[in-house]
């Protein structure tokens, strides 16, 4: 097994998984003001995976340098601190107040990869806010690296990794040389809690700031959002008096008979 690795993990700050999403008054976007934000759950799984690899290597006197990166506004640093508190070694914040679409993020990450030269880049399979499921794949394309997406199990070997992927109706196991892109699925692991000693240590861990301009990337959005709408309100259930009544409702109201 490679005794020294560098792992880059992409982390996005998103509206918390448990928050009830609301569309803003203009119908142009999801309301994000005064809403609890957390790390994208799939990125949390990615961070956990990187730390687990680091811990496994440490047992064999090896090491992994776990670098977490987030692109977005200043508050993204909260998310990076969380990743550092979980056990990542250092963080990079690419600051931007512009809207960053998957292609823009993939290009920014490519620039970071070129600076950091990691062996593995781990991303969540998708972010739960826009559900694009594109950034990992685009990054693989831009870097011309192999990719292992929707990973539910990862095993590292000398300059290669074996990845089990969840696919329709079963699992697929693939092997890829490093460097490579890995995107995480839900069942890969259960992320740990940020412990107090680690939260304290995280404050002293390095957090480097980069700007979009420094990386020389054009992040102009390619897609325009025309409209964001909530799903239609669910109608409440109705109690029917009799079987005849039910048949009648199915025929004349639901029109399924």
């Amino acid at each position: 097994m490679s005794s020294n690795l560098r792992i880059l993990v992409a982390c996005k700050r998103v509206v918390d998984y448990a928050v009830k999403i609301r569309v803003n008054a203009a119908g142009s976007a999801v309301e994000t003001a005064n809403v609890k934000h957390s790390m994208n759950p799939f990125d949390e799984i990615g961070t956990e995976q990187a730390i687990q690899i680091k811990e496994a290597l440490a047992k064999n006197k090896g090491n992994a340098d776990v670098v977490v990166v987030s692109c977005g506004p200043a508050k993204a640093q909260e998310t990076l601190r969380t990743a550092l508190a979980m056990g990542a070694d250092r963080a990079i914040h690419v600051e931007s107040d512009e809207e960053l679409q998957p292609l823009a993020v993939a290009k920014l990450l490519k620039a970071v990869v070129e600076k950091e030269k990691p062996d593995i880049v781990i991303l969540g399979k998708q972010a739960i806010d826009d559900d694009s499921n594109q950034t990992g794949q685009m990054l693989a394309g831009l870097l011309n690296w192999p990719q292992a997406t929707f990973a539910s199990k990862v095993e590292l070997a000398e300059k290669a990794m074996t990845v089990t992927r969840e696919i329709d109706g079963g699992v697929e196991t693939i092997k890829t040389p490093l460097p490579a892109i890995l995107t995480t699925d839900l069942r890969l692991n259960v992320p740990r809690y940020a412990s107090l000693p680690n939260i304290m240590k995280a404050k002293k861990k390095p957090l480097a700031k980069l700007t979009v301009a420094e990386l020389g990337v054009d992040v102009k959005p390619r897609l325009e959002t025309l409209k964001v709408a909530e799903p239609p309100k669910r109608q409440g259930g109705k109690l029917v008096e009799s079987v005849d009544d039910l048949v009648d409702k199915l025929k004349n109201e639901a029109k399924v008979l």
């Binding site: 918390d16 998984y17 448990a18 928050v19 005064n34 609890k36 957390s38 790390m39 759950p41 949390e44 969380t82 508190a85 259960v190 809690y193 940020a194 412990s195 107090l196 000693p197 939260i199 304290m200």
Partner: protein
């Protein structure tokens, strides 16, 4: 069919008698011939034909291996014979007769039926709001801990205050005893009948009557489920001032009637402060409309206070007006591992200095508690902390500014760690983790009940000797040789609300046993009284603690309570046999 409906006998499904003849032979000679005739007639019918009889008429055959009735478990309880029998009371006609492996008691009616009463209730309630079905009644007669089992034959589910008023007036005039019941989540047997009291359930009273988005005053029916109200308020940026593990089932009327405490008491105070007004129906049918939404109202005796915590012994709460605070935008939760109870206290003391106004919960539990959660519940699958600790603290802050709260909490936690008051800890990073941490604390009672039966004590104890109670009890049970693996008692655990000085002493065991109870009681009450504590911090008195009231209240206070009870409920029909000790 020659058999008069009211004398028909329906045999319960548990009966496995090998034919009419054996039943006949078992009957004692003194049984009157008319009773015999009824039994003989009835037992020749198939079960299907029984269902054509009005269900009010029956004889019941109870298998002796079934859970005992409360009345049998506590022989000191005697039915008040001044109460009219709603439906039949059973008289034992044959003590026991053996079937293959089990023994049965055969009970048979020998008194008059009062269908007239049932007809009256039918005339004021919707058909679905009244049930005499034995399987329906199971859920109302039994408490969730399977500790108490009443024998009520009638449950009424009124949907309006007027209906409650009519029911109570009729019951009072006819001396029919009643038990008000909410979500039936009580822990002291206060909400389930003892004998044949009529159950009046608030389950059909579920409207939210008004909500003032400026003052936060919420007015609703007594049967609204706490969690439903909390969700309603969440959408409007407010929060219920109380929260408890049973929130998904308990009714706000029941919460008020039992003065429920719970997890937010530290921050928002007790219901004696947050309830603005009540609508109560008195036993004589009077509707006491005091549904004020005013925060300040200094006119006359504050009558609503009398009903908060009265446990349905004075009247039925039908409507509640309650002040709800704004829901905090920023909430943080941390779980800490602590090496000693002294350090738990030190952490609490410091939290009041350093977190002060944002502190919203300070809960503690011991290693035994988390071990049970890990063993029995999904919530315990992932231990947030790497290694076990003797004590745990769950701390919650709620405020309006995340940065401000984060900074305060971090400084506080860092201080605790640096000064070695806590050994380890985690801070929830997202709402999922926040919920998972709370699930461990809230899951403790459920995890205990998975062991079998739980001896539950809910005590107010001065914080310095708080945990000594648990240790003393553990030593006592150990010395008596009932504690440990393969023994009757699984463990002795302590958890609770440090901030309120409220200890939950739980003793999970395989089953309830007289022997163990006699080791625990009255020791636990004497211990509490010795340390100037209260024998019921938030669970109330009910049936469980009423005989022990004198450990916490003086004779003159108990006397005054009796006078109040007699004045408001002169016939004593409201939730009898409970709350106040037998004279």
């Amino acid at each position: 069919m020659p058999l008069p409906a009211r004398a028909a006998i329906s045999l319960s499904a548990n009966l496995r008698v090998s034919g009419t003849r054996s039943l006949w032979q078992q009957l004692p000679a003194r049984t009157s011939s008319s009773t015999l005739a009824r039994i003989a007639l009835a037992s020749t019918y198939t079960r299907a034909s029984f269902s054509t009889f009005p269900k009010v008429a029956y004889a019941s055959v109870a298998a002796s291996n079934k859970k005992p009735f409360t009345a049998d478990k506590y022989p000191y309880l005697k039915r008040d014979e001044s109460f009219k029998k709603v439906i039949l009371r059973f008289e034992l006609v044959s003590t026991y007769f053996q079937s293959v492996n089990e023994s049965y008691s055969l009970y048979c009616d020998i008194s008059q039926l009062t269908e007239k009463d049932v007809e009256y209730f039918k005339s004021i309630l919707a058909p679905s709001a009244l049930s005499q079905d034995e399987s329906d009644l199971e859920a109302f007669n039994n408490d969730w801990m399977h500790k108490y089992r009443g024998q009520s034959k009638l449950v009424l589910k009124p949907s309006s205050t007027e209906q409650v008023s009519k029911i109570l007036k009729y019951c009072n005039d006819n001396k029919l005893a009643v038990v008000p019941q909410g979500g039936n989540t009580g822990l002291v047997g206060g909400g389930v009948p003892v004998f044949d009291e009529i159950i009046i359930s608030t389950a059909n009273m579920t409207s939210i009557r008004s909500f003032d988005t400026v003052s936060g005053a919420l007015v609703c029916d007594a049967g609204c489920i706490l969690e439903v109200l909390d969700n309603y308020l969440a959408e409007r940026g407010y929060i219920m001032p109380l929260d408890l593990g049973a929130k998904g089932s308990c009714h706000i009327g029941g919460n008020v009637a039992t003065n429920a405490g719970g997890l937010r008491l530290l921050r928002y105070g007790s219901l004696h402060g947050t309830v603005l007004g009540l609508e109560v129906v008195l036993p004589d049918g009077t509707i006491l409309d005091n549904l004020s939404t005013l925060r300040k109202d200094n006119t006359g005796y504050d009558l609503k206070q009398l009903f908060i915590g009265s446990e349905g012994t004075l009247g039925i709460v039908t409507g509640v007006s309650i002040m709800t605070p704004k829901r905090s935008k920023a909430v943080n939760v941390a779980l800490l591992g602590v090496s000693s109870f002294e350090n738990v206290q030190a952490a609490y003391k410091r939290s009041r200095d350093e977190l002060s106004e944002i502190l919203s919960a300070f809960e503690f539990f011991d290693k035994g508690s988390i071990d049970l959660v890990k063993k029995h519940l999904v919530a315990g699958k992932n231990d947030p902390l790497e290694s076990p600790h003797p004590f745990y603290i769950l701390i919650e802050t709620s405020g309006s500014n995340k940065e401000h709260d984060d900074e305060k909490l971090n400084n506080y936690l860092e201080g605790l760690l640096t000064d070695e008051i806590v050994q380890d800890g985690v801070v929830a990073q997202d709402t999922t983790q926040y919920k998972n941490l709370w699930a461990i604390r809230e899951g403790i009672p459920e995890a205990c009940s998975k062991v079998g039966s739980v001896y539950k004590y809910d005590l107010s104890i001065p914080v310095p000797v708080f945990y000594q109670m648990v240790e003393d009890m553990r030593n006592r049970l150990d010395k008596e040789g009932v504690l440990g693996e393969d023994k009757s008692v699984d463990s002795v655990i302590g958890f609770g609300h440090i901030g309120d000085g409220n200890l939950h002493l739980n003793i999970p065991a395989n089953s309830y046993s007289e022997e163990v109870i006699n080791i625990i009681e009255p020791y636990v009450y004497e211990w509490t009284a010795k340390h100037a504590g209260s024998i019921s911090s938030e669970h109330g008195l009910g049936l469980f603690k009423s005989p022990h009231l004198h450990y916490s209240k003086s004779p003159s206070m108990i006397q005054m309570m009796r006078r109040i009870k007699n004045m408001l409920d002169p016939n004593g029909i409201m939730n009898p046999y409970k709350y106040l000790p037998e004279k």
